[in-house]
Subunit: 459 residues, 2 copies
């Protein structure tokens, strides 16, 4: 007896040929992201290359009621890409064309599979850069879908503020364009931002019009260390309130800093609560920003405020920051890592982070803290002991940290998204009525529920 | 025979009492905005004071199928507030409470009827300001509804970038909250930005959570004048590309400058194409920005680059800019003004504006040009001759300017919105399929079509 998915696979194979595969290894690769949710393989993986192909796959799957789960690079952390109900994993990683760069307007259009590092390599010659930088080399489509951000968001905004328009294939196969090239527009509903953060549940993003930024004339990085985490957090709050336009301001707690020192061979640094700064601007304004930040940090007892203006020294510092996840894993070989994500209004940051530290201590687990603290956003990497109850203990800790953030007026995810892991918090955060409105939007755009089912909403 | 609207009015009067009025003068006041669309009076005006009252009015009107048209201050320019199908004008101007200000987090929550000037007066003591500044003293609710911006948008973003969350009464009377207090979040669909720019057609915004900004340590303004409009536009493009973080950069053409000189008694200025700048930052960075801008302007032949660092001098300059609309009207007493609005990618700005000047010349009408040119956004105020075909001629000119902007990859409105006047351009700008998706969202949230019918979409 032939299943609907077999009919869909046959129909898709007709035009994708070998780019539709049921190879076991590839199906396994598409069964999970960088998460600890139980993996589920798709029935097939479709490697598309154009918006039109996305539309055709969707139209077929919609007819047959077969789930479609978009797949960028699979770096998401909450089970986003797992095809929990089987179906087709729609892989966009071959859509790697930078379609246009308009240097004068500081914008570009890319296919969804272009990663942020590839794009930046492409742009460098033109004095431009794209600022959104999650730790993984994620696809721009995936970043749009998860409403990603990273260390630069405090200055340049998240992906949300840097997307001007989208090309989207809808569940029924129609391909639409939203937004446009202009910086702002007051015409019609903001569909662009409806798709941003929708995690593949409302449509498949195939092309993205992005804002770019000029590479700053000057940049400098700085690092400083504190006796207590509280002092470090207070410094962040004061720096933000002083209106210093920091490009980046990252907090690492003592455990995380210890891990980074060991992993990235950072010299002259101690395993203490630490802030990493980056300043962008003209030579003069960068110097001025750094001096102001140093003064503030000093008033909270910072020691060893050191600047790094050379490209190489800066890179080393930020590479260490970007490798923080791997540095954590290296702390306890054989442990998996669960990356948590929470965000609070900045005035509640000290409470949220100090509370998280208490929770970690009480749990008996190792979980370094690191955060994009200028936004009030912080993470821990919970190291999961390779024991039967290891994951359950880690998740319990994760939920405690998130619950406190929500109680402090925050959100259960600043940037990683909902996927499977955060679904249970959505009603607490948004309220049942608001969630019902989100569901009605989902039903309107995807009446048969084929797009990434089982994500964002509980059942 | 009693009409549905009479039943609705009776039911609303039960709890609003005298705040539901059928007074002819008040109905006339709610029959139009600052536009030249034919006025239509509502059957009644309801002055609400709470979110709950908004929900109750909507539930009643939904039951009876009676239109509801939200009304902020009525300063919109495209017929937005005209109740073309009668019904209730829902006036939010008495919802004037600033509900909370969180100085540490630089955010606040206001009722929808608070105007941007009132809010800024309220904030001044705390060293904070709200940057979105349309020329009129519009309500924050109305500004959200029209996706408004103004002179500061080039640096601080439009209302879109400054709204964190909303309280919205839906067509069926449910009251929901969207977004929250945090700077960013990756949890669930972005309903906040769906309501921003929806012009009262998807829900009634009753409260708004806003981002605030620190009043800069230093600010300076500058003015410089050019032989040709082309030189002024090229200066803008070069300044933006140089990454100078201008707070404001406004273009006035020779006609507009002449009008401002006469109206605002600007001394030492000539009726030439003119740029107004404002720079925000520290003392040093403001000086640096101004020097860089002066250098660039000089290379395009600017003359008379003058700085105004004193608060009073700056205010005078910017008051003149904000009074540009009235200065235009004063040029030709007895003429009405039609404010046009278009936006293009900045690389096409010279073409768009020089083309508009040709159109104006060909039309034989007077229409000064002024623009938030850092965003690629510009306006003309077309002075409508008091003759039978005056309005038709003005609209013809308006449409020509908009059509060119669209052909250059722009949008038919950068900030004023669609209302009645821009409906015909939406399909050209967004495409029929995209418009169909917008309509399906509308139907989902407002199945009976009671919310501001006849706007955004043609019939
Ligand atoms: C070491 C490490 C560090 C990280 N640091 C950060 C960080 O600092 N900030 C941050 O925000 N995230 C971070 N992440 C998480 C992750 O990188 C982001 O969520 C990223 O945006 C996912 O992109 P992706 O291409 O891998 O998407 P995937 O994981 O492939 O997909 C993510 C979700 O988006 C959907 N999707 C993917 N592509 C599309 C498309 N074209 N159209 C529609 N839906 C689509 C998928 O169905 C899925 O629901 C980190 C991850 C790791 C492993
Ligand atoms: C001299 C002058 C200069 C201007 N300059 C600018 C400028 O620089 N930039 C700019 O963007 N605009 C400008 N405008 C246009 C106008 O000020 C804006 O559109 C403003 O946002 C309208 O706000 P309002 O409170 O007057 O809204 P209204 O005119 O009362 O309503 C506008 C629309 O929003 C809806 N609405 C109002 N309140 C709500 C609510 N609480 N919930 C849901 N829907 C609601 C209404 O139904 C209507 O569709 C200018 C207008 C004038 C007269």
């Amino acid at each position: 007896m032939s299943r609907p998915v077999d009919a869909a696979i046959a129909a898709i194979r007709e035009f994708l040929g070998e780019r539709l595969t049921t190879n076991a290894g590839l199906r396994e690769h598409h069964s999970h992201g960088q998460d600890t949710q139980p993996p589920v393989s798709p029935d097939a993986v479709a490697f598309i290359e154009t918006s039109e192909e996305a539309g055709r796959v969707l139209a077929i799957c919609n007819t047959h009621g077969v789930p479609v789960v978009p797949f960028g690079t699979g770096s998401s952390l909450e089970g986003h890409v797992t095809p929990v109900r089987g179906g087709i994993s729609l892989d966009l990683s071959r859509m790697t064309q930078v379609l246009e760069v308009n240097a004068a307007d500081m914008d570009c259009r890319v296919q969804a599979g272009v990663t942020h590092r590839t794009l930046n390599a492409h742009l460098r010659d033109q004095g431009l850069f794209f600022p959104v930088d999650p730790g993984a080399d994620a696809s721009i489509g995936g970043m749009c879908a998860t409403r990603a951000s990273g260390t630069n968001a405090v200055r340049y905004g998240t992906i949300r503020e840097n997307v001007l328009g989208l090309t989207v294939a809808l569940a029924d196969g129609r391909v639409i364009r939203t937004g446009g090239r202009v910086r702002k527009s007051a015409t019609g509903y903001d569909l662009t931002h409806l798709f941003v953060g929708s995690e593949g549940t409302l449509g498949v993003i195939t092309e993205i019009q992005l804002r770019l930024h000029g590479i700053p004339e000057a940049a400098s990085a700085a690092i400083c260390q504190f006796e207590t985490l509280g002092d470090a957090v207070e410094t962040v709050i004061a720096v933000m309130q002083a209106g210093i336009p920091v490009a980046r301001i990252e907090l690492l707690d003592d455990v995380q800093m210890g891990a980074c020192i060991a992993y990235s061979k950072l010299e002259d640094a101690l395993p203490l609560p630490t802030l990493f700064f980056e300043f962008h601007g003209t030579e003069a304004s960068v110097a001025e920003q750094a001096t102001s930040a140093e003064e503030i940090a000093g008033s909270f007892g910072a020691r060893g405020f050191r600047w790094a203006t050379g490209q190489e020294e800066r890179n080393k510092l930020w590479r260490a920051r970007h490798d923080a996840y791997w540095a954590c894993l290296a702390l306890k070989p054989g442990h998996k890592g669960i990356a948590t994500d929470a965000i609070v209004p900045i005035s509640r940051l000290a409470e949220a982070i100090l509370g998280a530290q208490d929770d970690i201590a009480a749990s008996g687990l190792t979980a370094p803290i690191v955060g994009h603290v200028g936004d009030g956003n912080f993470h821990t990497v919970i190291l999961v002991p390779p024991e039967p109850d290891g994951i359950a203990r880690a998740w319990e800790l994760d939920k405690k940290i998130v619950a406190r953030a929500l109680a402090l007026g925050g959100s259960c995810s600043g940037e990683h998204g909902v996927g499977i892991g955060k679904r249970e918090f959505l009603e607490v955060e948004h309220g049942a009525e608001t969630l019902a409105v989100m569901r009605s939007v989902k039903t309107t755009l995807d009446p048969r529920g084929i797009l990434n089912p089982g994500k964002i909403f509980l059942n």
